[in-house]
Assembly symmetry: C2
Homo-oligomer: 271 residues x 2
């Protein structure tokens, strides 16, 4: 199978992050096509926009195929200049922002440093959640457990850290981690500090062979990374979670996104 | 000013992450409106979709205003059911996915566990980048510095960690941090280990008073957090970066998103 290659051009009078996150989400679902991103953020003048237009047409010439332009341009004049390009357009402003303005009776603002910035409560809660996840990765105080929105347990390298960071950035959730270690399995009970928080406690598990591969990258030829030990830890953790009635998810073939969404759903049921 | 409150309902036959990231980006730019999210992921049957429809209409009844429904539903029949709701629709499939399928001559796939999942090279490079950022936060080997795509320097708590994590998740960049510490200022030169990597080295700085507030949360009443020390460190770091010709950014009034995009632009110029 030959891989199709297409250039994706993100254009915005702001950061272009909205355009790019949409682009990621849409384009990653088209298999067998390799997308090469080009970014033109902060396109807030006619001069910049004309340069950008020239660059888009260059790509069109060179590649013989229309580039995909994904854009959020709030200035109608600049938008019109860009639309002269020979490209396939995904124009968020035309499609959604203008109708939303009408529906909400409010203006879409594009003040750099304000909209995403420090004065925005939603932004601040995302950053606070991310800092929480970073500060409470692998080892937390009782106070931290109390203030967490969700606590993930699982053996070392089962995916707790990326999952909690994603939960914090995407959903502004304060996510704490609690690693299950061999001492917990010897005692054969859930660490007592976790007992009060059953309703926000979820487990992660992983296929032992994949765990072996991940751990081997970190500590080759260690007991820690051996298949035998990985099998033992995973089995012991699953046994404990089953007995304690902790719902758990297998991270082996799930993306972080899927995992995060499923955890959100479970958490909402518990609430 | 009274705050308008609106309910935003994310519906998808997948995770709904694409819909939700778009929603974040779009709605955060409307000031003075509080948006409450409701999520209906994995809507892959008629039964679930009819339940979801009923919930949307309930919200409509209770609030007296149309909820905003942001959706990615690849199944046309299920999409048609949902569109019976009395809501304001942002329908990504109708608007973009169907036209994209035509442009690319390829089908939009929605295979859970595959599209975002472990078999996807772009997904894997994002996760690898995130793990790199986590593993190389505050303290890196020469080898790590070599393999990094970008290295951020700055005083403790100037914003290096959240920025590098965001760069990894959003742009799949391997971002390393290198904290500038008082010993560096006494020697009054850039740590020699960083010298070979000037072309991927950027600085972060911050207003000393904001730095004092951030550090005080961590270590109240310490010399570390004192305004005097914060002023000294920031001035010394800026002096060093200026002399060494390291381009730096002030994180005080910039969001992570803006900062990340500006760093990407600089990095592309250097390349």
């Amino acid at each position: 199978m030959t891989t199709q290659k297409r250039t994706v051009i993100y254009v915005s009078d702001g950061t272009g992050i909205t355009a790019e996150t949409l682009g990621h989400g849409l384009l990653s679902q088209f298999e067998g096509i390799e997308f090469r991103p080009l970014r033109f953020p902060f396109q807030d003048s006619e001069e910049k926009t004309k340069d950008c237009l020239a660059r888009i047409n260059e790509v069109r010439q060179r590649e013989g195929e229309r580039p995909i332009v994904i854009m959020t341009q709030t200035n109608a004049d600049l938008s019109a200049i860009l639309h002269q390009a020979d490209a396939f357009f995904i124009d968020l402003f035309d499609a959604f922002i203008a109708p939303l303005e009408q529906e909400l009776g409010a203006r879409y603002t594009r003040a750099v440093g304000r909209s995403h910035g420090h004065a925005n409560p939603e932004y601040n809660s995302r950053i606070a959640a991310m800092n929480f996840a970073l500060a409470h990765d692998d080892g937390v105080s009782d106070n931290d457990l109390k203030s967490a929105d969700i606590i993930l347990v699982g053996v070392s390298r089962s995916g707790k850290t990326p999952t909690s960071l994603y939960l914090s950035l995407q959903f502004s959730l304060k996510a704490a981690n609690y690693p299950l270690i061999p001492e917990d399995f010897e005692r054969d009970q859930l660490p007592s500090r976790l007992q009060p928080y059953r309703n926000k406690l979820f487990g992660l598990t992983i296929d032992p062979e994949q765990l072996q591969r991940i751990r081997t990258e970190r500590r080759p030829n260690s007991k820690y990374a051996s298949l035998e030990n990985c099998r033992y830890e995973v089995a012991a953790a699953e046994k404990m979670m089953r007995r304690e009635g902790i719902k758990w998810f297998d991270t082996t073939s799930r993306s972080i996104e899927e995992l995060a969404v499923q955890l959100m759903q479970e958490l909402n049921h518990e609430r």
